[in-house]
Subunit: 414 residues, 2 copies
């Protein structure tokens, strides 16, 4: 295998400079220091379904910036809207008219939304949901599924370094899709149960994905009703990709509060909380704010994104791309005699190899795909975008075919 | 006084629509529902030192979007940099080269910074400082000055609705500038003191501002050293307006960690944490992330902003504008025989009337200023920007002259 330095000279130079001024060289979920050194850390740009690293190498982008890119990089409609807003102003002494247009459009698009508030981070949205639930019920305990990501604040970060036990004092945990364990947690919370926080399906880094069991979802809804507790859907990662609107609308399981971010503005910094009518007055009494929460440019981008998703039936486009990718990958694995698991919805799939406990097969696969011009993550679900037409998916599949061949060459068949 | 409806028809129409989809009609610090109905809620745009509301009325903007606007609205240099970045990409699978350029530039500009991390909200930055301090010391207690704003997260929000006592379980409080009360709080924290969180001066909404007592600052530094606790400067509101670099550098009081946001990117969504060398390794072990934290456009805007502030000596320009405004306002008040207090640094002043316990004089003043084309806040400090040349300040002073006359007319002299 070639060394990173040989092929990534601009990236290596930037990484050396970064190491002097950034702790650990890079931070957060996009830091590549735990991945193969073949992974570039820095990117120069993107267009549609493609991204280019700082050494000029182009990839089919199966990560979509970890979710935000839903229409494609630099979607022309979204970009034009953002540029037009920048000609007027962005960060002013109050919101622009677009806040109302966007609020109406999203409340209209989301079945369980009677009102909306905007923030910047997914964590802003999930945290606000907890605060509103506690204010509304005058209770403390929030139940969440064990191991599931809800943000990076002290109450929810997956890395507890620097946080306190008191940050999670009122959190309770249960296993996703496990009715008995959920009931046990409800019992333990007793009369202090304020709400239940759930992702639309179980997407946990490094683990096979689990779709929600519909009976489990209905059971949670019923228990919340029985307890006068609130059901909060963390739709930050899935929202407006799994469905146009709420990710559980198709199940017919209504939710009380929802947290949104990622895809709603095609990469512009925006998050949102939506809720049902009964929570409107409470939501107005909670103090939620930030210096840039009223900025108009991200809201204009969101309005263009949501409208565009409706116009082109973006969810159907992504489902088509996702189904084509899944079919191709499953066929390639079978042709190579390699046993894989391809879990989660087609628009947010996750690939693992059977018996790959040390992830060596997946590491080999990801490195080979990268070298063949496909950017995917070995430990995190991928994302489809509307820019992935058949030719893009086929281009990705030409890369994964090479990657499967590499795995077979290095590891043989099981 | 005319009614809002008569003069603000577009604003009123938007507000009616907002009331249907936004709890309470608007949220956060820019909601005007607690101000005079004369205040517009919605703005159409801004340029330089001016903003325009949705009814086409132009104001000299003494609020600078509550701090972010430091060079002026739509500064051409910053806007050009942002547009050029948008032609490449913004939200990608990793940061762009600008992250390194910006990190180096800010670490170079800030005396106490050996490294930097970027987020989106001021609250992201202050929260990260606490987490890093706790991780570094393996202790819990953070001391903060009573009543001072450090963000809107449950541990610090000024409105505790929906938060829990446990959210502040490890917070202790003291009175700003009060050495004895501070020592009492240090004593109470005992060996569990992780850090002390302070703003560069005491800026609290609705209260006269207090500059920091230099002896107090030195005392806090000494006590932190004695206790192996960290001194955290919340420079979110003041940073890169009070000084180019850290707001306490002129005092010669070094700090261990600093939180930044507001002015660093002239209105683009960005926040930062900087720290000293000894904290670098700890900072690399804390998980800090968000979906848009690596976006390049706000970083390009920040790089242009910080460089431009250095090139034009922006702080000196703001100090000049602030001194001119202060001198003009103090002269106008004296001419009218009105007793005022004009507190805080010239670049972030706060005006109150003597004996105005029900704020009726200030309400009258703010309404009259607004009608005369000056946007200022009756209960929050104002902000100077580099776009406020002498002619802008004089234009603002023509409005405040009318406003003082209105106060005198309505209330007479004390």
């Amino acid at each position: 295998m070639t060394t990173a330095a040989a092929v990534h000279s601009a990236d290596v130079a930037l990484s050396h400079r970064a190491a002097r001024v950034i702790p650990g060289g890079m931070y957060g979920h996009q830091a590549v220091r735990h991945l193969s050194p073949a992974y570039p850390q820095f990117f120069a740009g993107g267009e549609g379904a493609l991204i280019t690293d700082v050494d000029g190498r182009e990839y089919v982008d199966l990560m979509c910036s970890w979710g935000p890119i839903v229409l494609g990089h630099r979607d022309p409609v979204v970009t034009a809207a953002a540029r037009a807003q920048m000609d007027l102003g962005d960060c002013l002494d109050g919101p622009g008219p677009v806040l109302v247009d966007l609020a109406e459009t999203m409340v209209d698009a989301i079945a369980d939304a009677d009102w909306i508030l905007f923030g910047k981070n997914g964590t802003d949205a999930t945290t606000a949901c907890l605060t509103i639930a506690r204010a509304h019920t005058s209770r403390s305990v929030i139940l969440a599924a064990r191991g599931v990501y809800h943000g990076a604040a002290p109450w929810c970060t997956p890395v507890p370094t620097g946080t306190l036990a008191s940050d999670r004092a009122a959190m309770g945990y249960f296993d996703y899709n496990d009715v008995d364990d959920f009931d046990r947690a409800v019992q333990a919370a007793g009369p202090d149960l304020a709400g239940v926080l759930l992702t639309p399906f179980r997407h946990v880094e490094g683990e096979d994905q689990q779709l929600v069991d519909e009976d489990f979802a209905r059971h949670v809804r019923q228990r919340c009703d029985d307890s006068d507790a609130l059901l909060i859907l963390d739709d930050v990662r899935c929202g407006f990709r799994l469905a146009y609107g709420g990710s559980w609308e198709a199940l017919g399981v209504p939710v009380d509060l929802s947290a949104w971010s990622k895809a709603i503005a095609n990469g512009y910094p925006l998050a949102a909380v939506t809720g049902r009518e009964a929570l409107r007055d409470t939501a107005s009494t909670v103090f939620l704010t930030g210096s840039f929460w009223m900025n108009s440019t991200p809201m204009v981008a969101a309005l263009a994104t949501v409208r565009r998703l409706a116009e082109i039936d973006g969810v159907a486009l992504m489902q088509r791309a996702g189904a084509r990718l899944r079919a191709g990958i499953e066929a390639q694995a079978a042709d190579c005699g390699l046993a894989i698991r391809y879990t989660g919805p087609d628009v947010m799939p996750y690939l693992t190899f059977a018996g790959d406990d040390d992830r060596s097969r997946m590491t080999c696969f990801a490195e080979a795909a990268l070298a063949a011009g496909v950017y995917l993550h070995p430990k995190h679900n991928w994302f489809m975008s509307c820019a992935m037409d058949d030719s893009v998916v086929d281009r990705a599949l030409r890369g994964t075919e090479i990657a499967f061949a590499a795995v077979r060459r290095h590891f043989g068949t099981p």
